[in-house]
């Protein structure tokens, strides 16, 4: 029994080390191993919209106002623009509404603010005045961003105007501001510092790397050896089938964890991500993530006899996991049906747990659900997968 166990461990280790050695000596594989996480971080981190969606958006201003209020609006817009680290708008000044419409039609401008000629006059007569905002409807996201920014700007200006009027009407009020805006909303995070979009992305990318290693890597590695013919040498040796699975999994786990670590280092060093939780817990969660995927990986490698088939099956499995798990987009923004599907994917729980640990600094007690679900997924699939693999390997 113990002799068998020792043999099992020895054989698994030898096979695992062999796989790692083969991998380490394959320059192309090594390059893609390092480039993948860097590429993913850059791509995903920079391309996907962060909190502030407007960056250097070309925006037209048409000030037709004959009074002074129009000028004040333009000034406030300029000030807001200058106040940002990166300007939100690249402003062009136009002379008519028609010109603004044309510019939007040609998509040289994403939106335009038109201040009508009677803007100041209307305000001074006590009527409600309005400005016109035109946006490019072909780009809903930017359009929404422009609308909310300009709305914010205009209501702030309206408040300011009201404060002035109240002060003039009621001379003895100590704080006219309070009379107009009795309360405000103050947003607070639970961890110190300003969070950035990479903090949202990094845990997702780590989970993704591990998922790919455990699922694609394992099946790919077994089917590659089957096609090369080297698998015959391993199977015809007097070793347990279990040691083949363990050895292969070991190599893939090491690769996946190294890649996840690389992602984390990149995130911390290049993108200023701060890990708020404990590194020990993070390591544990990464291992758990591997475990939750490995069973599915083994199963697919058993079922896919050729590398090509393995890849096709993998794609069908990994894509939903990628897009529905919340690794790249928040689950809360998905339609309800998709949110339900998302609940059935191990990846979702891995991402949730990793994100809690990295971004919020949550401890083990705050992620027990995720931990149990991952353990469950891993255990069930591994238990099913091992006999399937054993049977499939000698057909």
């Amino acid at each position: 029994m113990f002799g068998n166990l020792k043999g099992l461990i020895m054989h698994s280790l030898r096979l695992g080390i062999k796989d790692l050695l083969v991998f380490a000596r394959d320059r192309m594989m090594l390059i893609s191993f390092v480039i993948m996480p860097i590429f993913m971080m850059l791509m995903v981190g920079f391309i996907f919209p962060s909190q502030n969606v407007l960056k250097n958006v070309s925006f037209g201003v048409v000030n037709l106002d004959e009074g002074s209020m129009g000028g004040q609006v333009v000034l406030a817009l300029q000030q807001m623009n200058r106040g940002q680290d990166e300007r939100m708008f690249a402003i062009t000044y136009l002379h008519s509404k028609g010109a603004a419409v044309d510019q939007i039609k040609y998509q040289t401008t994403s939106g335009a603010l038109i201040i009508p000629s009677d803007f100041s006059a209307t305000i001074s007569t006590g009527e409600q005045a309005s400005v016109i905002l035109i946006t490019d409807q072909s780009n809903p996201q930017v359009s929404a961003g422009i609308t909310s920014t300009i709305n914010g700007l205009m209501s702030a200006m309206a408040n300011q105007l009201t404060v002035q009027r109240v002060a003039a009407l009621v001379p003895n009020v100590p704080n006219p501001q309070q009379l107009v805006v009795p309360f405000t909303v103050q947003t607070e995070g639970i961890v110190a510092g300003k969070s950035n979009y990479f903090e949202f992305m990094a845990p997702g990318i780590m989970a993704m790397t591990i998922m790919f290693a455990a699922m694609t890597g394992l099946a790919g590695s077994i089917s590659r050896e089957r096609e090369l013919g080297t698998l015959d040498g391993i199977i015809s040796a007097p070793i347990s089938r279990l040691s083949i699975i363990l050895g292969k999994s070991f190599a893939q786990v090491v690769r996946g964890l190294l890649q996840a670590l690389l992602t984390l280092i990149l995130a911390v060093v290049l993108f200023g991500v701060v890990v708020h939780g404990s590194y020990g817990l993070l390591a544990l969660l990464l291992l758990l993530t591997v475990f939750s995927f490995i069973g599915i990986g083994i199963m697919v490698s058993a079922l896919a006899s050729q590398q090509e088939t393995a890849m096709t099956i993998m794609m069908t499995l990994t894509f939903p996991m990628l897009f529905l798990s919340g690794a790249l987009f928040p689950v809360q923004q998905m339609p309800v049906a998709m949110q339900w599907i998302s609940k059935g994917l191990p990846m979702t729980y891995a991402v949730e747990a990793l994100r809690k640990c990295v971004v919020l600094g949550t401890g083990v007690s705050g992620m027990m659900t995720q931990i149990w679900v991952m353990l469950g997924f891993g255990a069930i699939f591994t238990v099913i997968a091992i006999p399937v693999f054993n049977r499939a390997i000698t057909r």
Binding site: H11, K18, V22, L228, D232, G233, S236, P238, S305, T394
Partner: protein
């Protein structure tokens, strides 16, 4: 003593039968050859004996162990040189051998000795520390053979061991196989090379369309022809042409005709040693006959005699279309 006993061994892939009720025994210290065209079922038979493939029917014992119930024991006693080379290109010769030594449960010290011994015998010591990926096919095959022998198996399976190798390496491997035979290792090999089968094997099973169609010693197989009163004659015809060949095939006393090169045909007579009717037929068709010899039959003649077909021009009709069955392709492409 029988090292291998096979009884009614059969393997089907879906509705395609790759190996159909084959039975044979192999004595210790002999070389047993499967001779047959591509797709005849040779590799499938070997894969079953090596426990890489489960038989659909029948049974087999290798070194006294059942290939289904005692797979572990079978694996302990066999070495396999499969159609594809079982080595990792990124590892050195030594690393490859050491890995497989460990997988065969050899202690470190013994692995070292075995590597020294086999690399020495195969004249590959100089390449010990080099990566296998940089080797020629012939060099790879030598290391591959060393890998299969590392743990001193009782039975060595060689699936087309010289396929695609240059004549020198082929010769060296043939010599090596004969040496091993002398050392008491039992060898089972597959080949579609008649000369190889004849040179190495004491016993040959001619396998065609999944079945063993003849099984005997090399000498006895050749005697099959004389027992059936078949004479093999080699005729040199200066104006040999395609129509002439088809006319010859229709001559009553001719069983078969093979064109061996531009001017030579090899004719098997049908149940007769009288070649006079053949000569008159040749005369009648205006053949410019330069020489006629009766020749000793080769394995090629035996194959033709028992299967009624030439070996090289056949792509067996029974080989399934690659997408015929879900498993067939994956299991047949090795």
């Amino acid at each position: 003593m029988n090292m291998i006993e096979v009884e009614g061994l059969t393997r089907r892939f879906g509705d395609f039968t790759a190996v159909d009720h084959i039975s044979f025994t192999v004595e210790k210290g002999t070389v047993f050859g499967f001779l047959g065209p591509n797709g005849a079922g040779k590799s499938t038979a070997i894969r079953m004996l090596c426990t890489l493939l489960r038989p659909t029917e029948g049974s087999a014992r290798v070194v006294g162990f059942d290939i289904v119930k005692e797979q572990g024991e079978v694996r302990r006693h066999i070495g396999l040189v499969a159609e594809k080379i079982i080595l990792y290109d990124q590892l050195t010769a030594e690393e490859n051998l050491s890995l497989f030594g460990r997988l065969n449960n050899l202690p470190e010290e013994q692995i070292k000795q075995a590597i020294d011994k086999w690399l020495g015998r195969l004249h590959m010591e100089a390449w010990r520390k080099h990566r296998v990926g940089t080797f020629s096919t012939g060099m790879k095959q030598r290391i591959n053979v060393a890998r299969a022998l590392l743990h001193h198996p009782d039975v060595l399976f060689l699936d087309e061991p010289t396929l695609g190798l240059d004549p020198q390496t082929t010769h060296a491997i043939h010599q090596f196989i004969l040496e091993l035979r002398g050392e008491g290792i039992t060898i089972v090999l597959t080949t579609h090379d008649m000369v190889e089968a004849e040179a190495l094997c004491q016993q040959i099973a001619i396998i065609d369309q999944a079945k063993i169609v003849a099984l005997d010693t090399t000498t006895n197989l050749k005697r099959l022809l004389s027992a059936d009163n078949t004479t093999v004659i080699d005729v040199e015809i200066a104006n040999l042409s395609e129509p002439m060949l088809s006319q010859l095939k229709n001559v009553e006393s001719i069983a078969s005709v093979i064109q061996s090169d531009t001017y030579h045909v090899r004719i098997h007579t049908r149940n007769t040693d009288n070649i006079a009717p053949i000569l008159s037929a040749l005369n009648a068709m205006g053949a410019n006959v330069r020489a006629i010899n009766t020749v000793l039959p080769t394995m090629e003649d035996v194959f033709l005699h028992v299967t009624g077909r030439e070996m090289r021009d056949k792509v067996a009709a029974s080989v399934p279309s690659v997408r015929g069955h879900r498993w067939s392709r994956a299991s047949r492409v090795r």
